[in-house]
Symmetry: C2
Subunit: 381 residues, 2 copies
Amino acid sequence: MIKQYLLSPGPTPIPNEVQLAMAATMIHHRTPEFAKVFAEVREGLKELFGAKNDDVLILASSGTGAMEATVSNLFSPGDKVLVVNGGKFGERWLEISKAFGLTPIELKVEWGKAVKVEDVERSLKSHPDIQAVLIQASETSTTVWHPVRELARLTQNGPLLIVDGVTAVGVARVPLGEWGIDALVTGSQKALMLPPGLGFVSFGERAWARVEKAKLPRFYFDLRLERKSQQKGSGAFTPAVSLIFGLRAALRLMRQEGLDRVYARHERMARATRAAATAMGLKLLAPESPSPAATGVYMPEGVNADKLLDFLREKMQITLAEGQDRLKGKAIRIAHVGYMGAFDVLVAIGALEMALKKFGAPVKFGQGVAAAQEVLMEALE
Amino acid sequence: MIKQYLLSPGPTPIPNEVQLAMAATMIHHRTPEFAKVFAEVREGLKELFGAKNDDVLILASSGTGAMEATVSNLFSPGDKVLVVNGGKFGERWLEISKAFGLTPIELKVEWGKAVKVEDVERSLKSHPDIQAVLIQASETSTTVWHPVRELARLTQNGPLLIVDGVTAVGVARVPLGEWGIDALVTGSQKALMLPPGLGFVSFGERAWARVEKAKLPRFYFDLRLERKSQQKGSGAFTPAVSLIFGLRAALRLMRQEGLDRVYARHERMARATRAAATAMGLKLLAPESPSPAATGVYMPEGVNADKLLDFLREKMQITLAEGQDRLKGKAIRIAHVGYMGAFDVLVAIGALEMALKKFGAPVKFGQGVAAAQEVLMEALE
């Protein structure tokens, strides 16, 4: 087995068109030539974020940098925020809030479950001084989709709704403007089919109104500066030029496929993966509210998930993702996000069948694959 | 379905390592720097061809150019040669022989069958003035493997044995020196994992002894010139520099994997593909002496193979190969040659199952895939 298959929820595979775009001649970032590229990607991002009149700002950072930027630009020391914590990335909101001296109220959610809207509502009633709700749209660690659309309705006239959209934007529709999300964040290495290195933030009107009042210190991530500079055609600081070349190519690919078809492809791959896992007798990590970006699957009794993943990576060149923290050794995550298609699902499932057999689990070859094929046939209609 | 899968018997997929090598800065071809690269690839090719003390010459041409070079360097007008014709590439030997004014004796072989050694023996007895036997090791059009090893024994003290190794060299062991093949030819776009553009020829001692006596006209393909020049570190005419950079990378990859493992991988993929086709109830084109490079499969009654291939390519982005001439519309060919592995077989079979279902053929999803998985498990031992 000689070819590498990167089927993790980020980094994800890069299309050739994007690789070639990133290999273009380096140019200076304060030139009309760069401004033209920058204007095009800003337009594409606006559409992707459903940001209407709002900017999507591009940062030279990982997704975590973009998360931090929302906190440092929107709050003052001691501000009370509600953090929905149902996984590793919920925890990250908590860590950032603490690092910046906010007063986070933690709403713990069982791993594998989505937060209940009524639980958020109850927390907000108990703490009427909560300034914002911090949440993931897709909690990558537990492969759960949280009800951000419903939460946006709930917070419409109350606290801000700040959404980590890292495995959501470009995977499913999360229109900031239409739904009334106040801040939406993503990174480059997921649905955007780029290497890691870019973070994206978009604020709605209510959020921008808070930025001037926010007293937290910020310099590199000062979004007022970035907004002013990016409207003029470049970043306030040196932007990651080659990644932005790649971003232009990636957004063109997405437009060419059509955003609705991009979303449908992700939803179909996710459904096919769940159908395959179920047909193989494997238990899903998030059966009730699954993310369209990745599918968490418990391993059968007696199979150590981490050893299985090592085997898949070392002997089969297939990179899937591990279960984290309390799921360590118990579950794996199969990604279907970004530059992946029907046959990546078949490869993931086919390889999983073979690896599980090797680990002594009861497997009937082709059973999971067949269940996936049934779903993937819809793409041929 | 957004990703292209090139599963044809040439061109074949190119590894990233090779793509990157070909993107290196262009250099001049009469420099010590180039001579160093050239010396390394010559060593690697010698091993691959099992050429012992003989040179493998690199031509800027397709495989057909290399075939022509063997004819124009070894024969004189009117020379009688035996051409084994069991497919499109057998026919090509015939066409080249005719174009150069030889007197070819055609030994027709039923498509899908290998030539019988006794039939060659009989032809040689009927025409004791035959100067050479021209044949394919792997007849790509019918996915047949001809018994070149046995034929080399037969011709040891008689006519030359000239072997088109285009889908054979690098796929299976075809050692020129050890077996006593007199001329062996291949192209870059098959097992060598390169784009098209390079042809390769190696002559054994008996062949070189004939070159001076051969009276056919030649200039670009004058192998005496090439031999002299290439021993000194470059081609007689401008060599295809970037392809030779790529060749170095490809040969390094093959050495890293180990030639024996490369051959075992091809043999296993071929066996898995045949097992899958048989499990799907499909008839093999060459059940008795199949090539390890590609598998020909008849389509079920009522399925037009060419329309199915169009559907696979246009709707599923999967490129398999068509049946040629009398097989047109009736058969397809699934390649497993070069930079392909176990999961390319699963993709090919999974996609074929889905496409056949779409065309109304009786298909049970996962049946072919499961048969392939059983065989491919050997790679995990």
